[in-house]
């Protein structure tokens, strides 16, 4: 008889069920390219120059064997004047320069420009995580950090796209990227998102990610204001499978610039392994080739850090560190870094936070190259690392660390306002241009929706028809400007026209350019990163810091006082000075100084009057008589309970704080001792107060009390209530006045 396969023990059954165990983790395997750094097949760095600055060998490969990437990098990507110095530099010495605040960014960049891909990869691979953070803070191009949002939905609903783009802009995203589940819808999406973004804020750049040529064509017609989906890959095989070469990409890059349109390229570790053509190289080395190529073709920036293959990179040892090192490499090549944190790399909230946090803390040109500002299910790129589900988390994390991740709080009324206006603007423009009509029901659902599931009225044919008309009529963004202007959306028309006119000046073609909300360009040129150690570099302005700090959930003592005041009632009144009781059935309930004056609601949500009612009812069940007194001289619950016990005819007292914490005391005990303590105030409900009353009665009679257990919860009780406790205690202390002694209170039940 075969032994049954053993079931894991409970501890492991429990651990197996945790989200992180849904993630695929790979054994390092250089043959498949499943290795983050230093594959045995990575080449040794080398650079041999011939006459007239020809490259005879690069990274151990002779020129005759150069693939297309080597060839383009060797011809265009390296600063050969500095190459001899840079290639001779010790890797550790270079890594130290990268981190050392006293070594200027410009000096690191000067040397990196002369380094081959393998050489730069070796140096940066030495950086530990915190050193990568230092490098990022110092080397990024733009001083002011920023962030990019995805805005998409399952039905390409133009109204919802506009409402969500306006929402993203209101939250502070300075770039918005859309794409399509249905390719034909692309121009409609581009128009709807551009209008929505213009409603939310001025100067928000918009792109629509589709096939390379189609994306350029939309740019030429002004329908988008930047481009990013220009993919580079680290091996020739994958590059050509992607239907491009470095020459076609270089031309495409110039095509964008020739129309005055910002663009960056996309790469990211793990892509080649995913496509089965890594040549056995490490992800970081292949990415080093992509980044060197990005510089060589003249792109101003790179979106990398895994991107679509982030989960592949994250599956190997050191993979998450390599994602961040990729971003630092972009910065070291003097390019704009749009630092991944894009495609979701883990089912685990802990892991995905761990992957992002060092970059968020260090600050980046764009922390996310696609924060899913919509819900996960509506993200047509696939779920992002951060999504609408996480916007409040992100805002609170910014506040926790006092750092600028590019986002700001938007209030409910503000968001409702921009969503309403964005929907109205798209309806007006589509009608004016003959692109389509929308029902009132659809519009109302789009304004209110948390996602496309909330818009059943959406018609899937509408965007398809609109996109076809845009394509066939050759409509441009100038027509959209006219439509907005003619239908009463002058401000938005002006904002979109300003983005078109910005193409003429071309300042936003420079590295790491964004517009601020006054439509000023912030870039390497106008807002250069000047970090040189503590006390230097980017600090949020006082206004910006206040914006970061003012999350919508924060509450002051005044807010709490107002909340308490709303529960003020005449049912609890002081009736005079309290005396000594004589009735052996009497149990005195002592309440804290603010009860019935400033505090009316306990943390559990019961009013003080309700809690007292339960206590009295419990005493009555045991045939006892309750009396309520307010102990004005102390806020200490033990002393309040003890004071009550000493006034009580039975010698048993109950102490009750305004926040709801309660205990049973006896006249002969020291103040800090007690008979029973109900300490977790938020969890003390009506039945527990009743039980407490019953048990106090039994103590008074000398009977056996019912055993009770403090209610237990795995909720973060302290996180939820401690700020309130601080405020409640402050209120209690302000009400505390020993001269007022102890008063009898009367309660209407």
């Amino acid at each position: 008889m075969n032994a049954p396969s053993p079931e894991p023990i409970g501890r492991f059954r429990f651990m197996d069920a945790q989200p992180v165990n849904l993630d695929g983790l790979a054994v390092e395997d250089p043959r498949l390219g499943l290795i983050a750094f230093d594959s045995p097949h990575d080449p040794a760095p080398s650079l041999v120059l011939g006459p007239e600055d020809t490259v005879l060998e690069m990274d151990s490969r002779p020129a005759a064997e150069f693939d297309v990437l080597d060839e383009f990098i060797a011809r265009h990507g390296l600063d050969l004047d500095v190459a001899a110095e840079a290639m001779a530099l010790d890797d550790v010495a270079f890594a130290q320069m990268v981190v050392d605040p006293q070594t200027l960014r410009a000096e690191v960049l000067r040397l990196a420009a002369g380094m081959t891909p393998a050489k730069l990869a070796r140096g940066l691979a030495l950086l530990r995580p915190v050193e990568l953070g230092m490098a990022m803070t110092k080397l990024r191009a733009r001083r002011t950090p920023s962030n990019q949002a995805h805005v998409t939905n399952r039905s390409d609903d133009p109204l919802l796209l506009a409402a969500d783009a306006a929402t993203a802009a209101a939250y502070g995203f300075r770039e918005v990227e859309t794409t399509v589940p249905v390719l034909g819808d692309a121009p409609s999406n581009a128009v709807a998102v551009s209008i929505g973004a213009a409603v939310g804020a001025a100067g928000v750049l918009v792109q629509c990610s589709v096939e390379e040529a189609a994306e350029l064509e939309m740019g030429m017609r002004g329908l988008v204001s930047y481009a990013e989906t220009v993919s580079l890959y680290g091996t020739e095989q994958v590059f050509v499978d992607g239907d491009d070469t470095p020459w076609s990409k270089a031309f495409l890059t110039s095509g964008y610039a020739s129309r005055g349109i910002k663009m960056r390229v996309t790469s990211g570790g793990g892509a080649e392994a995913l496509m089965g053509a890594s040549e056995g190289r490490s992800m970081f080395y292949l990415e080093a080739r992509c980044v060197a190529l990005a510089r060589a073709i003249g792109a101003q920036g790179v979106q990398n850090g895994g991107i679509d293959s982030a989960a592949v990179a994250s599956s190997v040892p050191g993979g998450v560190r390599s994602l961040m090192a990729e971003n630092v490499m972009v910065m070291a090549r003097n390019l704009e870094a749009c630092t991944g944190n894009d495609a979701l790399m883990s089912e685990s909230d802990v892991r995905r936070t761990s992957r992002t946090l060092p970059i968020l803390l260090a600050g980046s040109d764009f922390v996310c190259s696609g924060f899913g500002s919509i819900q996960r299910y509506d993200n047509m790129f696939g779920p992002s690392q951060w999504n609408a589900e996480d916007i409040d988390d992100f805002l609170v994390i910014q506040r926790d660390w006092g750092i600028d991740g590019g986002l700001r709080t938007a209030g409910e009324r503000q968001v409702a306002g921009v969503r309403t206006r964005a929907v109205a603007a798209v309806r007006a423009v589509y009608r004016y241009l003959g692109l389509g009509d929308f029902t009132d029901e659809w519009a109302a659902q789009a304004v209110d929706a948390a996602g496309s599931k909330d818009v059943p009225a959406a018609d899937l044919m509408t965007p398809l028809v609109a996109a076809r008309i845009i394509r066939e009529t050759g409509l441009t963004m100038l027509d959209v400007v006219t439509a907005l202007y003619e239908t009463g959306f002058e401000e938005e028309a002006g904002r979109i026209l300003a983005l078109l006119k910005a193409r003429v000046a071309g300042d936003y073609l420079q590295t790491a350019a964004i517009f601020d909300e006054s439509s000023r360009v912030l870039s390497l040129v106008t807002d250069p990163n000047d970090y040189a150690g503590p006390g230097t570099g980017y600090f949020p302005t006082a206004d910006r810091q206040a914006e970061i700090n003012a999350v919508r959930q924060q509450r002051s003592v005044d807010d709490l006082r107002a909340e308490q005041a709303a529960y003020r009632s005449g049912a609890l009144r002081a009736v005079g000075s309290a005396g000594q009781g004589a009735d052996p059935r009497e149990v005195v309930i002592g309440v804290s100084p603010a009860v019935g004056r400033e505090i009316w609601l306990t943390l559990s949500g019961l009013t003080v009057v309700e809690a007292l009612g339960e206590l009295l009812a419990g005493l009555e069940e045991e045939g006892c008589v309750g009396r309520i007194v307010r102990v004005n001289g102390t806020i200490d619950l033990g002393l309040i309970g003890l004071t009550a016990a000493r006034l009580s005819g039975s010698g048993i007292g109950i102490g009750l704080q305004g926040k709801g914490t309660a205990l049973i005391h006896r006249r002969d005990l020291p103040p800090l001792a007690n008979l029973e303590l109900y300490s977790v105030a938020p969890s003390v409900d009506a039945s527990l107060y009743r039980r407490l009353g019953v048990n106090a009665g039994r103590h008074a009679k000398g009977a056996t009390p019912e055993p009770t257990r403090n209610p237990y919860s795995d909720e973060a009780i302290e996180a939820r209530y401690h700020t309130k406790v601080v405020a409640l205690v402050d209120i209690e202390r302000r009400c505390s006045d020993p001269d007022r002694g102890v008063e009898d209170l009367e309660v209407d039940r």
Binding site: T245, S258, Q300, V504
Partner: protein, 120 residues
């Protein structure tokens, strides 16, 4: 420096009213080659000669129509063109003053031949 549009028009002259009146074209809100040359000099001054080269290639492409640019891009993609076709395009570009782009096409012809990326 006040940059003029590709059409030579002053952007200050472009208002919502002039757009509504149909008096503005995309060429009026496109970049002028001399502006790209200016941006190239800025890029050089900020330690990025490759970005400068890109802007100078782009300056040449401002003279080409949208469809021409898209067609040239298509011709450079893998296995689209013979070496002769690439060289012919290079000659045409050069004749129109697009010498940097012409050089890019000639280089592509040479490398594509060695790496088997020409039209089969």
């Amino acid at each position: 420096m006040i940059a003029l549009g590709a059409s030579g028009r002053d952007p200050l002259d472009i208002t919502l009213d002039s757009v509504r009146d149909g008096a503005v074209e995309m060429a009026d809100v496109s970049i002028h080659p001399s502006t790209l040359e200016h941006q190239a000099q800025v890029a050089e001054a900020h330690a990025n000669p490759q970005l400068a080269s890109n802007f100078r290639r782009a300056a040449e492409l401002t003279a080409l129509g949208d469809h021409e640019v898209l067609a040239l891009y298509e011709a450079l993609r893998p296995h689209r063109s013979t070496a002769e076709e690439l060289t012919t395009l290079a000659d045409q570009l050069e004749n129109r003053g697009a010498v940097r782009n012409a050089a890019l096409f000639r280089e592509a012809a040479e490398v594509y031949s060695r790496r088997s990326l020409l039209k089969r």
